[in-house]
């Protein structure tokens, strides 16, 4: 089968190539998906650039990408909740990475039927960003009338998080640049802060939850805007100590300034590792079918133009997700 593979780490144009590889084999818990559409995410770019070699060592060449939507054409003996012919979507686990290919084998726990009211391309755009947002805001137990600041509302994670938080009845502040203000408002955000002309810290004050999707100084600044006893969830900031332990870093300490700021505010700081989860995707399916959440797609590229799709992703200017139509 044809697959877009990372052949070496480095610049995107030099590091990707189409290869003919063998079709994945299906284990007892797996389904084999004929890929209709895949989506690419910033992590895919970071992997290609080699920025994650230490954390996620890959045997090269490796097929790229995690998000997929397609049709189940084969299943393992222990798979009972999914049938051949089902239209599904998934964020595949690390060890099964490689959705930019004609077929991908995925463990059933990571797979859900796709929403029936959207296309394969739209469905492929949802898993990674949707699971990241859902699992972060679920950790924060976001509920009706909570106030939440979601950074980078025009990004894949941010645009999903806004809609998810609104579906839960929260009051949503979000930040974005001037050119994105209007369409981010249309996602339902109550107060869209144009970071080019406004200081978000003087607008979003004492919020119940900050969802940090930017990291760097924004992680620390989160404690300036979160209420006393509030929650800061981050998907890009420093690891928290419990998460670090999970990775075997027993003597890891939270950076001093974050620990101090968190303690002064008596606020929780939690780093969220998105994990593949078919049950969560099934929750997202319902939200999409009920129009609580709409997929936001910047562009759909044909498979043959996948490298151009990555170049577009690299600009960091995509409004929503970049999708690749495979078949």
């Amino acid at each position: 089968m044809k697959a877009l593979q990372i052949i070496k780490y480095g610049e995107i144009k030099d590091s990707l190539d189409f290869n003919e590889v063998s079709k994945p084999t299906v284990k007892a818990n797996d389904v084999l998906i004929e890929v209709k559409a895949a989506a690419i995410n910033p992590i895919d770019k970071s992997i290609i650039l080699g920025n994650l070699q230490g954390m996620l060592p890959l045997p090269l060449p490796s097929t790229s990408a995690y998000d997929v939507s397609g049709v189940v054409i084969e299943k393992g003996d222990d798979v009972s909740n999914i049938e051949i012919g089902d239209l599904v979507y998934s964020r595949v686990p690390q060890e099964q990475m490689g959705t930019l290919a004609e077929f991908v084998a995925v463990t059933r726990e990571a797979v859900s039927k796709k929403p029936g009211n959207i296309s394969f391309e739209e469905a492929a755009s949802l898993p990674l960003a949707g699971l990241t947002a859902l699992q972060s805001l679920e950790y924060a137990k976001i509920k009706k009338n909570d106030s939440v600041l979601i950074h980078a509302g025009s990004g894949g994670v941010g645009s999903f998080a806004i809609q998810y938080a609104k579906a839960k009845g929260a009051y949503v502040y979000t930040t974005t640049s001037t050119s994105n203000v209007e369409w981010v408002k249309e996602l339902g955000a109550d107060r869209v802060i144009d970071y080019k002309t406004e200081d978000y810290k003087s607008i979003a004050k004492d919020v119940d939850v900050v969802f940090d999707t930017l990291g760097k100084n924004y992680s620390l600044e989160s404690f300036e805007v979160v209420k006393q006893g509030g929650i800061v969830v981050s998907v890009v900031g420093p690891l928290d100590e419990a998460s670090a332990k999970m990775f075997g870093m027993a003597d890891y300490k939270l950076p001093e300034e974050i620990a101090k700021a968190s303690s002064e505010k008596e606020a929780v700081y939690k780093f969220i590792f998105m994990h593949p989860n078919g049950a969560h995707l099934n929750d997202i399916k319902s939200l999409v079918e009920d129009e609580k959440i709409k997929p936001i797609i910047d562009n759909v590229y044909p498979f043959s133009e996948s490298v151009q799709a990555f170049a577009h992703l690299s600009t960091g200017r995509a409004k929503g997700k970049i999708v690749i139509k495979i078949s």
């Binding site: 029936g116 009211n117 296309s119 129009e291």
Partner: protein, 191 residues
Amino acid sequence: MEDLIKKIKTRLHLRPEAEEFLYSISKEIKHSKGEVLIREGQMVKKTFFVTSGCLRSFCIDNNGKEHTLLFAINDWWISDYIAIHNNELATLTVECLTDSTVIEFNAKELDGIHTRFPEFESYQRLNLERHVVSLHKRILNQLQLSATERYDLFLKQYPDIERHTRNYHIASFLGITQESLSRIRVEKAKK
């Protein structure tokens, strides 16, 4: 099954052996919400008479979107008749939108019942005519009526069904977007 037998008896003289035959080619089955009775791409050997609950048949287009062809509630029949008639694989999927009870018939045996019991010939012909009329009406409504009018008719035809269906089931049945359906509902609520 007794209810169906009663209904048949109102329209023809049902001999005991014909009644026995009907029982021999059918069974009453309870299904849970979400169960799929016919799956696209598979052989279709059964047709279903709904005694309680709600089912729908739908097709999936090349982009993976679902389009509802029919909802079946109490006293309706549902299957993939194209697949049965042409002896082809199913192009439709039939799923339960609620916990449902159906009487499942062997489609070929039911279709051929008039060869054993000729009294079924006119009964089946009338059923078929009704079905054709209903399909013609559906096509004409689609061609002639506004979206709001189609929605009004839908509510008359399927009272109470909205509790069991998602918006996109109804929107795709009516051939409109979910946004349009929401707009129509808002307009109706204002009246």
